[in-house]
């Protein structure tokens, strides 16, 4: 068999599960969006009212897309296209780095490069692999749109737009893999580029100009710098113009040419940027197990907290618009109210819904810190620490403390963001107070998760990571959407998020909250005591 084909088959085989998940997941998301259009926004007048709303609140566009009309296809594109393109970008950059820098860093690439395949053929195989993956993704997205009964041409253009964006970012990932010494560095840079592209086109949409009827919008200049912006300019179901996608293809081709130029000039395993030198001695914080736990988690905690702050700002800046929405889109009001509680005022419902998301973010941040303890244990880096005068329980307690800090930081910064955002409200004081109470209300639920996963880490260490995330996903889903979906009450009640003290009509019922605080404290204490009795479990 031809060597390129062997290398390609090897890549497909290595990625068969991971890529299948990305592709099916992205297509499923497209399908969910089109179904939502049919179910929730089936009425054209309703769709029009929502699109007109974006004139009043262009900030919404950052999370949606460019309005291109009120037809079902156009509306689905408005809802989801930018996000699908973002996912294609992430899939592609991870793929590019995994098969180039990742292999070089692990020393696997050397094995292959020492065969007659040489130094460049593996990269060529990766290029083919990445383009094929995006082609399959494009077809899957087009099928998802088409199967929902949308016009075939528009569906095909939407699929092509997603695939073209993926290919452009694939080029970015490949270049990053040449430039950075580690896959961590290359992935970090690529993800930053993808997110920046998403934000640029969001800004472009928000700064753009709406048409007379408010149903379409011309994006402003920042959008033209972003491959995701180019995908939107293809205007699936409206203009169906493939020309902007050529730009993505051109960028990808240029980047791939650059990659081969770099590749032929550098040593295997070397990078364009040298690996940065670090400190020769540790800073003052790095002197205890707690200090190490903080150091290992600080970056992630900071990222979660900044995200939460943005959420907080949005919660209160968007709330002045609630009256407009209230009169224009009763279906949305009804949805929000069911999440927040039947008797909530509209503003309360809106802010509380936002903060339920913050609660989930906080729980996720805390969980990640606890899971770091498990990673330390599994990767063998906990062992040297526990061979010093650090007790097993003290070691775990360090991660519990950092996880609690993460939860409080996320909720706290979301609250701070909300207070900032409230400045533009009709009654800044009242809105800020409402937001702060909603923020505080999320603390107990997030802490319960933290305790539960700590216990899991002690009792079934190997399951910590998969089961931990699954618990959070289920709890978030049942707790937030349970009533909407009509699941049985007892299942709904199992979720900590269904017991969050909701500020309703100015009154807050703290019973659920205090119970959860007690449960959380009990779980954390049990885990620390349990750790006294547990061995280290390194493998798997």
């Amino acid at each position: 068999m031809n060597r390129l084909a062997v290398l390609l088959a090897h890549r497909v085989r290595r990625d068969r599960v991971q890529l299948a998940l990305w592709i099916v997941g992205t297509a499923a998301l497209a399908l969910m969006a089109t179904t939502a259009v049919a179910d929730t926004f089936g009425d054209r007048a309703e769709r029009e009212s929502i699109l007109r709303l974006t004139i009043l609140a262009p900030a919404i566009l950052v999370f949606r897309g460019t309005p291109n009309g009120a037809g079902e296809g156009e509306f689905a594109t408005f809802l989801i296209l930018a996000f699908l393109a973002l996912l294609a970008g992430l899939m592609s950059t991870f793929l590019a780095v995994r098969h180039t820098r990742g292999d070089e860093e692990q020393g696997r690439a050397e094995l292959v490069e020492a065969t007659p395949a040489g130094r460049t053929l593996p990269t060529a195989a990766t290029v083919v692999h990445g383009v094929l993956a995006n082609a399959v993704l494009g077809v899957a997205v087009a099928l998802a749109f088409g199967l929902s009964g949308l016009p075939a041409e528009g569906s095909a253009v939407a699929g092509a737009a997603v695939a073209a964006t993926g290919v452009a970012f694939f080029g970015v990932g490949l270049v990053a893999a040449q430039v950075f010494r580690t896959s961590r560095g290359a992935n970090g840079f690529s993800v930053a580029v993808v997110l920046a592209a998403y934000l640029l086109r969001g800004l472009g949409d928000a700064m753009g100009e709406s048409s007379e009827d408010g149903l379409t919008r011309t994006a402003a200049w920042p959008s033209r710098l972003s491959p995701i912006g180019w995908a939107q300019r293809a205007e699936p179901f409206a203009a169906n113009d493939l020309a902007p996608l050529l730009l993505s293809a051109g960028v990808a081709a240029a980047l791939v040419a650059l990659v081969f130029a770099f590749q032929s000039a550098r040593d295997s395993g070397a990078s364009i940027l040298p690996d940065a030198q670090g400190r020769a001695a540790a800073g003052p914080l790095l002197g205890s197990s707690l200090g190490l736990a903080w150091r290992l988690n600080a970056g992630a905690v900071l990222a979660w907290a900044v995200g939460a702050a943005v959420f907080g700002v949005l919660a209160t800046t968007l709330s002045p618009l609630v009256d407009e929405i209230g009169s224009d889109a009763p279906a949305i009001v009804e949805t929000l109210r069911r999440i927040a509680g039947e008797t909530a005022s509209f503003e309360e419902a809106f802010v509380t819904t936002f903060f339920t998301m913050v609660g989930i973010l906080a729980a996720a941040a805390g969980l990640q810190a606890v899971m770091r303890a498990r990673l330390e244990e599994a990767h063998g880096t906990a062992e040297p620490v526990l061979a010093t005068p650090v007790s097993r329980e003290g070691w775990l307690a360090g991660y519990a403390v950092v996880a609690a800090i993460a939860v409080v930081a996320v909720v706290g910064l979301a609250g701070a963001g909300a207070v900032l955002g409230a400045a533009s409200a009709d009654d800044p004081g009242a809105t800020a107070e409402l937001a702060l109470r909603a923020a505080l209300a999320q603390l107990p639920a997030a802490l319960v998760y933290l305790g539960a996963v700590l216990v899991l880490l002690v009792v079934a260490p190997r399951l910590t990571i998969p089961v931990g995330w699954a618990l959070l996903a289920l709890g978030a889903f049942f707790g937030v959407f349970g009533e909407l979906l009509g699941i049985p009450d007892w299942m709904h009640e199992l979720s900590p998020f269904s017991h969050v003290p909701v500020p309703v009509g100015g009154e807050v019922d703290w019973t659920g909250g205090s119970w959860m605080l007690a449960i959380a404290a009990g779980l954390v204490a049990a885990s620390v005591v349990g750790m006294r009795r547990r061995e280290l479990v390194t493998e798997g």
């Binding site: 540790a282 620490v385 526990l386």
Partner: protein, 310 residues
């Protein structure tokens, strides 16, 4: 002599597999004790139990006379450890990892002494402390762990195959540093499957196989268990007389030289005979630990391997 490490009938099972099957081990204060065995014999499992990272399923282990599982943190004030397969934090530099571990051990109270010790070790091991953990090669990761262990004084050094990945030059440096620590009064438990390393350093040796101790003693004590090899220039007229010497085994003539082996405790009886024959170019090599080792594992390496899988 006080005992620093002692295990009695130590057992450790992982499900159905038996990692330790009644291990007895004694290490006295001030000793450099070689802990020898093939991969998977149970060396690392023993060390994990001694460090309180794993709990024995049976028997008992004592470190400084105390239970290493229940009193782990207190005991670790007196212990420095180098793991066999060193994992470092990928985003911490080598220098940061060394400082972290030294501080955790509480060995940095005398800041100046610690800094001097660390600087000297970085120098002799030729280690660049500014690189991130993920950028170190295997040998350099090993050096980070060695410097971290040696940078603060300890009463007991537990070293699990500490020289894997080090080049011969660095092995010399390692040997020197271990002798230095030993001369300061420390006890060393050195696990290894590299015999020359143990021969060069250790006072006493315990050999384990399949979770059980098969031999223990000083090197001279163990040497009586095997044969020295003798060689000299071949002269055909002596063949008959050679064959008549008592205690000679495996006699061969090869490439103009006679070679045979002699039970080590009979070598003194054989030498006068050779003197009488007036042999030329005589060499007598003491038994290497290699042979000792082969005698214990050579016959059934495959079973030992199977038992190694757990």
């Amino acid at each position: 002599m006080t005992t620093v490490i002692s295990t009695r009938a130590l057992e450790k099972r992982f499900g159905r597999t038996v990692a330790l099957d009644g291990l007895d081990l004694e290490v006295g204060a001030g000793e450099i004790h070689g802990f020898l065995g093939p991969n998977g014999a149970g060396k690392s499992t023993t060390i994990r139990i001694l460090l309180g990272l794993a709990r024995p399923t049976g028997g008992e282990a004592r470190l400084f006379g105390e239970d290493p599982w229940r009193r782990a943190a207190e005991l670790h004030r007196r212990v420095a450890y180098v793991p066999g397969d060193v994992s470092l934090w990928p985003n911490l530099t080598g220098g940061e990892s060394i400082d972290l571990l030294a501080r955790l051990r509480g060995g940095t109270a005398d800041r100046r002494a610690y800094d001097a010790r660390k600087a000297r070790l970085l120098e002799v091991f030729q280690l660049d402390p500014r690189k991130k953990g993920r950028a170190y090669s295997k040998g350099n990761r090993q050096k980070v762990a060695l410097v971290a262990a040696l940078a603060t004084p300890a009463e007991l050094y537990i070293l699990d195959e500490p020289t894997s990945g080090l080049d011969p030059l660095m092995e010399q440096v390692f040997n020197r540093e271990i002798r230095r620590a030993s001369s300061e009064g420390a006890t060393v438990l050195l696990s290894s499957h590299i015999l020359s390393e143990v021969e060069a350093l250790c006072d006493r040796v315990s050999i384990i196989r399949a979770g059980r101790r098969v031999e223990s003693g000083t090197l001279p004590e163990l040497r009586h268990l095997t044969r020295s090899s003798v060689g000299f220039a071949h002269r055909p007229e002596q063949d008959a007389e050679l064959a008549a010497i008592a205690g000679v085994h495996d006699l061969v003539v090869d490439d103009g030289r006679v070679r045979f082996t002699v039970d080590s405790d009979r070598i003194a009886l054989v030498l006068p005979e050779l003197g009488r024959l007036g042999v030329q170019g005589l060499t007598v090599a003491p038994p290497s630990l290699e042979e000792l080792f082969l005698r214990h594992y050579g016959d059934d390496v495959s079973t030992a391997r199977e038992e190694a899988h757990r």
